[in-house]
């Protein structure tokens, strides 16, 4: 099957709004001296300001872009315009045999991909030297320990001096421990301090309880760190993740190899991409792609990071199913995964997987939390739920009349209600500390993504 990209999907690939605008100016067929495609690639020639037209080509499996223009943006406006034209006016393209410049490029790409997999496989098969690894862990551990001691004092002072003092604290009160934690190589806790500051500053209802909960979480992490050696490898991994001491990609890939002794596991399954949510911290953009196995119902989270205008490496859009080889990060409740390999082409999803009972969904969430108290956002799929508008808060209700509040940051309630028509729909989203945040829905209109974006 030839993979075609809808307009929305192409627009989702754009690095910024300016690129979309620039691409739209190239949407008249007359600007192109050549528009052609075959099952694996699309290519064209676009007249630019220079004498020679730009040669644009797109690998449909990906999609990946290449253009002879000097733009540093990726994909450039020519690549976007080519794919938009294909989505809007497929008749303008002729079917042709790909020229050498296209086929060579495709081959080179396949080679690179193969090499990458091989490298990963070689890494995975390389016997891990447990002694060397233990030495590395120990070294980092010592570096962190001193920083965490200071942090514990700060945390105790916070309780000693009282929560009422927090709203009056100046910026240094927060930035100093955060900076110290970054130096101590515990960026996860540094982010935690910033999040705490934000809760205090925005002071939502019941902020005192939130602060207390967060302080407890941090303290639990400190205690767990002190007993690091007594923990199981999975627990160690969860503690490391919470501290911001990421497990190396190679180790994850290695761990998924069945012969390895390290924790972590692999999975090969057609996975449905059910939701995407983007968080922007300063210039760092973090994209969470929630996947759910179409056969086992197993959840997976793929995180993508990009700085500034850089595009994300993975450009799947919600609503597709991809046959994937995944490697899970070790955890007592594994969610985060790396994509080892992708097989075949994407196809559209044909429904959402979830439970009809909100209580069952909450039980699942509780189990995950019990296994990993620092787990954060969790995926949640609810089938056949109805929406109830509310003055201050909307809710979803299951067939038995049990309900959950929607997250205050969810902005598309009316759209969701319109699609449901007041009847039952399937909703997939994130279960977070302030409620359920829908990311996609399946209604009689089919699948519809409700991508979420927030600044942190």
């Amino acid at each position: 099957m030839t993979l075609s990209y809808s307009r929305d999907q192409v627009l989702a690939l754009a690095p910024d709004a300016a690129s979309v605008k620039a691409a739209q100016k190239l949407l008249s067929v007359g600007k192109w001296s050549l528009l052609a495609h075959d099952p694996s690639a699309v290519w064209g020639e676009c007249q630019g300001s220079g004498k020679k037209p730009y040669l644009v080509q797109v690998d449909r499996n990906g999609p990946a872009f290449k253009c002879s223009c000097p733009s540093r943006k990726f994909p450039c406006k020519h690549g976007l315009a080519l794919m938009l034209l294909l989505a809007d006016q497929p008749a303008a393209f002729r079917e042709a045999e790909a020229p050498a410049r296209v086929t060579d490029w495709l081959e080179a790409r396949q080679d690179t991909a193969k090499k990458k997999v091989e490298r990963a496989r070689a890494q995975a098969e390389k016997p891990v030297d447990p002694k060397a690894q233990a030495r590395r862990v120990k070294k980092r551990w010592v570096e962190m320990a001193a920083g965490l001691d200071d942090f514990e004092l700060w945390l105790r002072d916070l309780v000693r001096q009282g929560l009422a003092a927090l709203p009056g604290r100046d910026a240094d009160f927060w930035s100093e421990p955060a900076a110290r934690l970054v130096d101590a190589k515990a960026p996860g806790l540094a982010n935690w301090v910033r999040a705490l500051q934000k809760v205090v500053r925005s002071a939502p209802d019941g902020w005192q309880r939130r602060v207390m909960a967060m302080a407890g979480q941090a303290y639990l992490l400190l205690r767990a760190f002190r007993r690091f050696d007594e923990l199981t490898p999975e627990e160690q991994a969860d503690v490391r993740t919470a501290l911001g001491w990421a497990v190396e990609k190679e180790a994850v890939l290695a761990g998924s190899n069945s012969e390895s002794e390290s924790p972590g596991e692999g999975l090969r399954e057609p996975m449905a991409v059910l939701g995407s949510s983007l968080t922007v911290r300063d210039r760092l953009r973090e994209l969470r792609l929630w996947l759910r196995g179409t056969q086992t119902g197993r959840d997976a989270l793929v995180l993508e990071f990009a700085y500034g205008r850089q595009p994300f490496e993975l450009t799947w859009t919600a609503g597709t199913v991809q046959d994937l080889d995944l490697a899970f990060y070790p955890s007592r409740s594994p969610l985060r995964a790396l994509v080892k390999e992708r097989h075949g082409d994407a196809r559209p999803v044909d429904g959402l997987v979830g439970t009809r009972s909100i209580d069952t969904a909450l039980d699942q969430a509780a189990e995950r939390l019990a296994a990993n108290p620092w787990i954060g956002r969790q995926p949640m799929g609810l089938c056949e739920v109805r929406l109830v508008p509310g003055e201050d808060r909307w809710r979803v209700v299951d067939g038995r009349g049990r309900c959950l509040g929607l997250h205050p940051k969810f902005k598309r309630s009316w759209e969701l209600l319109a699609m449901s028509g007041g009847g039952a729909v399937d909703v997939f989203g994130e279960w977070r500390d302030e409620g359920f945040l829908p990311l996609s829905t399946w209604s009689d209109e089919g699948f519809r993504s409700l991508p979420h974006e927030e600044m942190e």
């Binding site: 007359g30 002072d157 299951d398």
Partner: protein, 519 residues
């Protein structure tokens, strides 16, 4: 209050200021907490430990709430009309995101095709309808029952209910009107009420107005009297005649203007009497000629009838009076009393030394009395006379659409700059249809292209104003030829090219839109 919230409250002032005394915790957490509190550690540590236990405990124990069956929404009724195709929905999303000016056309096409919008687009559509009244009649049809159901749930969208009432009933029921708005509403609400009532039952509306007439202040009287232009007829004449004697000059002005639209009124008869003294037809041999006696200052009676004194750049005091009188005199005076056809009258005006005053006055008379014959004759006479372009703009809209368009075609063909073309395009926004006739569309875009390509007249700023309105108003039959005729690469400036590219995108989208509705 949850145990964790209680713990938080107990350390609000800090452990250094006093002992911590959190509420006891029931359930499975109790024994764990007991161990925590009995630890050999500082109070701060024990508080943090307790928080570490209670946080996950409460998060994991989060339970669902309950909603009673009567707390659920009544689902939307099923729609009778089919939902539009995916392709049509896709075009709608593009329009909403990128080209909102094309929404009216999409709605019209969808309404004509008898399809309804995809539910996910309803909130955006209802928001668009809130901003623009013009699209509401089509919107009501296209959002379907689900859209109306949704709009009822969200107060900002409540306008739809009123709009759909208009959709179902060709004439709103007088009883349905909100009498409260009349009794207690603001002036604007009362005005709307009265106007609505005039549409259904002009006589009762007039009665209501008479009831309150003497007790209202001048500004209110002026505004409310204005509503009589809805459903105006001879039965309003006695009241208007009375209003000519109102204390307020502005009320008198409104009454005079309304009476000017009633050629059978007493005021019209008085005007004829005045006109007979001023305008005369002399016959020499076979030749008729219109003789105008320079009028003296208006007497009190004439002023009471709303005739004013004044002067303007191209009109002296006497010319002003002539214009005033010509504007207030029934057209029948010229045609019946003087026996001139409208064409003959227009020719007489051309030859008269009072040409400007008569042109202006007769154009106003034609407009007030909605006299198409006179309008047509005047347009003919004004056609090649730039000094009377303003008068032409007054009477031209009275012509039937095809004649009006044909007239515009002639004007457009003569436009000497993009600025002139812009003025013409702006003044020629035909009411009912969202686009121009094919002939006019062709004339406009060909002219615009000619000026765009010419180095003397090409002007990116003008173009950025002009091309978008041309883009949305071109007749469907002309879209394809316009696309082909406008070059992709103009040998002009980058900015001009940019505007032309945008224009092309609109045309392509409109073309696609029509294609997907066809299939």
């Amino acid at each position: 209050m949850t145990p964790l919230a209680s713990l938080a409250r107990s350390v609000m002032l800090g452990t250094e200021r006093g002992p911590v005394d959190p509420a006891p915790v029931p359930g499975a957490a109790a024994p764990v907490l007991e161990t925590v509190w009995s630890r050999q550690a500082s109070t701060e540590e024990r508080v943090l430990w307790a928080a570490a236990v209670l946080g996950p405990y409460e998060d994991a124990g989060e339970t669902s709430g309950a909603v009673a069956p009567d707390g659920l929404l009544e689902p939307a009724p099923a729609d009778e009309r089919p939902r539009c195709s995916d392709d049509v929905a896709q075009i709608l999303r593009r329009i909403l995101a990128e080209q909102p000016a094309l929404l009216a056309e999409w709605l019209e096409l969808a309404a004509t095709a008898g399809v309804i919008a995809p539910p996910s687009a309803l909130p955006d559509l209802l928001d668009a309808g809130k901003r623009s009244k013009e699209i509401r009649p089509q919107l009501v049809k296209v959002v379907g029952r689900r859209g109306r159901w949704l709009a009822e749930l969200n107060p900002p969208w409540s306008y739809l209910e009123k709009a759909s009432a208009g959709d179902n009933l060709t004439e709103p029921d007088a009883a349905q009107l909100d009498q409260e708005a009349w009794d207690e509403g603001t002036l604007a609400e009362r005005e709307t009420f009265l106007r609505d009532l005039r549409r259904v039952d002009p006589a009762s509306a007039l009665e209501l107005l008479k009831e309150v007439w003497t007790s209202e202040n001048a500004a209110t009287r002026e505004r409310l009297l204005g509503t009589l232009d809805e459903g105006l007829g001879m039965s309003d004449e006695p009241f208007l005649e009375e209003a000519l004697g109102d204390r307020s000059k502005r009320v008198r002005g409104v009454a005079a203007e309304l009476l000017g639209r009633l050629p059978a009124s007493r005021r019209a008869r008085r005007m004829i009497a005045r006109a007979e003294a001023i305008f005369r037809l002399e016959r020499k041999m076979l030749r008729k000629s219109l003789v105008v006696q320079e009028p003296d200052e208006w007497d009190a009676a004439a002023q009471a009838d709303g005739l004013t004194e004044g002067a303007a750049r191209d009109l002296g005091p006497a010319a002003w009076r002539i214009r005033e009188l010509a504007a207030a005199t029934p057209v029948s005076f010229w045609t019946d009393d003087l026996g001139l056809s409208c064409e003959e009258l227009a020719r007489q005006v051309d030859r008269s030394p009072w040409k400007q005053a008569l042109s202006s006055g007769l154009a106003r008379a034609a407009q007030l009395q909605e006299n198409v014959d006179l309008a047509r004759a005047l347009v003919q006479a004004f056609r090649d006379d730039d000094s009377r372009a303003r008068e032409e703009r007054v009477v031209a809209p009275l012509l039937p659409q095809d004649e009006y368009d044909a007239l515009a075609v002639g004007r457009v063909a003569k436009a000497e700059s993009l600025a002139e073309l812009s003025t013409l395009v702006a003044s020629h926004v035909s009411g009912a249809s969202c686009y121009w006739s094919a002939e006019l569309s062709r004339a406009v875009h060909v002219k615009a292209r000619q000026h765009t390509l010419s180095p003397e007249t090409g002007d990116a700023w003008r173009l950025s104003q002009l091309l978008p309105s041309i883009g949305i108003r071109l007749h469907p039959d002309v879209i394809e030829e316009a696309r082909k005729l406008w070059p992709e690469d103009l040998a002009t400036t980058h900015r001009i090219q940019e505007e032309v590219d945008k224009f092309q995108i609109v045309l392509v989208l409109r073309h696609q839109m029509r294609e997907v509705f066809r299939t």
